[in-house]
Amino acid sequence: MSAILKKFKRSKSANSIWRQPLAVVGIVIILTWTILAVFAPWIAPYDPNAQDADKFLTPSAQHWMGTDELNRDIWSRIIYGARISLPYSLLLVFLSATLGSIIGAISGYAGGKVDSFLMRVTDVFFAFPGIVLAMAVAAALGPQIRNAVIAVTIVAWPVYARLVRGLILNAKQNDYVTASALLGSSALRTMVVDLRPNLSGPVFVLASLEVGNALLLLSGLSFLGLGAQPPAAEWGSMVSMGAVNFDRWWVGLFPGLAILTAVLAFNFIGDSLRDALDPRTAKALRD
């Protein structure tokens, strides 16, 4: 038994993600937040919107993180906040990775004029101040967390487009791609069957590196009042309540720490994933 175990351990590559302490810390933090989010009704000591306590209670045994301006328990609101921040950041990354990958794939596969047009568009988006555009779109669509996700997706896809285009250009040179085209595969089939396997790894790593940024941008929009709306418990908008009452340190401090730990954990994981993958992928991601 132990022999098998040993063999199994040895067979894992030396730089497997589980050998990296930071990655383990990151996974543990995200798992904790996930459990808190899923079981929020059972874990949270109070209803996140109940206004039963007193205003601005300092942290105590009854209210671990104190209460806010509207007499609500901050720790309970943070637990419920995980239900907004985490899934929406993941959704945001999924949407922008999909959009960016499709544009990058078309660009790299079609080549020529289509390619140079799409890449110029990508350049323009890179030059664009993301948060300004996101603010404008979020304001125009109406302040809602769903609209904030759309707004950030519109500014976040170009990194994926550039990455995927580069990967496709590289993969296209393989003989099996030419062979598949000669056998009469359609463009779509070539892309999905022959080219896609070259993409998933790097795109996944980039996406994992971007989750933290997505969470930062989304909570930033909420902080400005352009994302989740009251009374929803969302970390960014909770910090903004702390900004109004900055002399009550606990109101803004704890929701901010929640954002920091979640973003940090995602970055630990993303960083370790990149290091654990082969150097080629790491290089493609850096270029």
């Binding site: 993301g130 300004v132 519109i154 910090v239 900055f246 340190w249």
Partner: protein, 357 residues
Amino acid sequence: MRPVSGERKTRKRPLSGTGFAPFIIRRLLTSIILVFGVTFIAFSITQLVPGDPVAANLGQSAYSDPEIVAAFEKEFGLDQPVPVQYYKYVTNLLQGDLGVSLSSKRPVAEDLKEYFPATLEIALIAVLLALVVGLLLGIISAVTRDRLADQIIRVFSLTGVSMPAFWTALTAFYIFFFVLGWAPGTGRLEPGGEAPPTVTGLFTIDALIAGDFSTFRQAFSYLLLPAVVLAIYAIGVLTRFTRASMLEILGNDYVRAARAKGLPEFTVIRRHVLRPALLSIITVAGVAFSSLLAGSVLVENVFSWPGLGQYAYRAAVGLDLPGIMGVSMVVATVYITMNLIVDILYRIIDPQMKDSA
């Protein structure tokens, strides 16, 4: 710089040469096209999404009066078809006219002249700080790879890029203003403080030009905290990037050769590792600078810093199209100019590098 041409002279397209002049012309043209691309995308997106700038800028009672609405639309050209609006915007832009802001009712160019220097001032300090600290930490991290110092710096720099700027600003403000009383408060000067005569719009520089040292000290004390908060993210980015690019170079054979011939480690690092790494670090610093301009939105909000970020926020919330376009143009132009400068620097420092764009 002597043009390096010759081997590819047979090409027919006039701008496709590898010489220095065609390179610059080509890059300039691309940059100008990019700036117009930015106006086009900003314009289309703000038109595509629903949202009524008239409703956002007129009061409830004025909005219910069709005559006032019509007058407002006429004044700002909102009654014209969208392509006409865009055409007008671009032709005006070519004459340096950025339109009139819907919310401040002033020319956008004037607004920007007032708000941009405030942001430039903190962003410059932030990027300088980030360059010094980020380079230093990155070098230490790379040289002590996988040892304790490296681990600490890695966690530190990852934390830097993971901190929500608005929260960092708030926490710093609480500690340094409310608890310690070291920071002076919000804004650029104390209430009622008189701004130095405008030359650059940067209060510190203008105060120095006017020889007014007390205003200089005051302006500097007000900008220090927002600048440091703004710098934290950039420090994280630059530390990580410096470490990565140095590690990549450390693996090269010529570094082994330099060590093998007995050069002191300090010389190896300085001459054979840091110098080649510097090129790409400059690139990242340039990009970081323009992202600081945009990132200032959240920090300025907390410090009531009357800069571009605050202006952008007000423009966005008020669906003030000329305002949004103006801010986007400024930030995009800085970004594009930075890239242009970096590309030209590359050519000067490393003439071997043929332009690939």
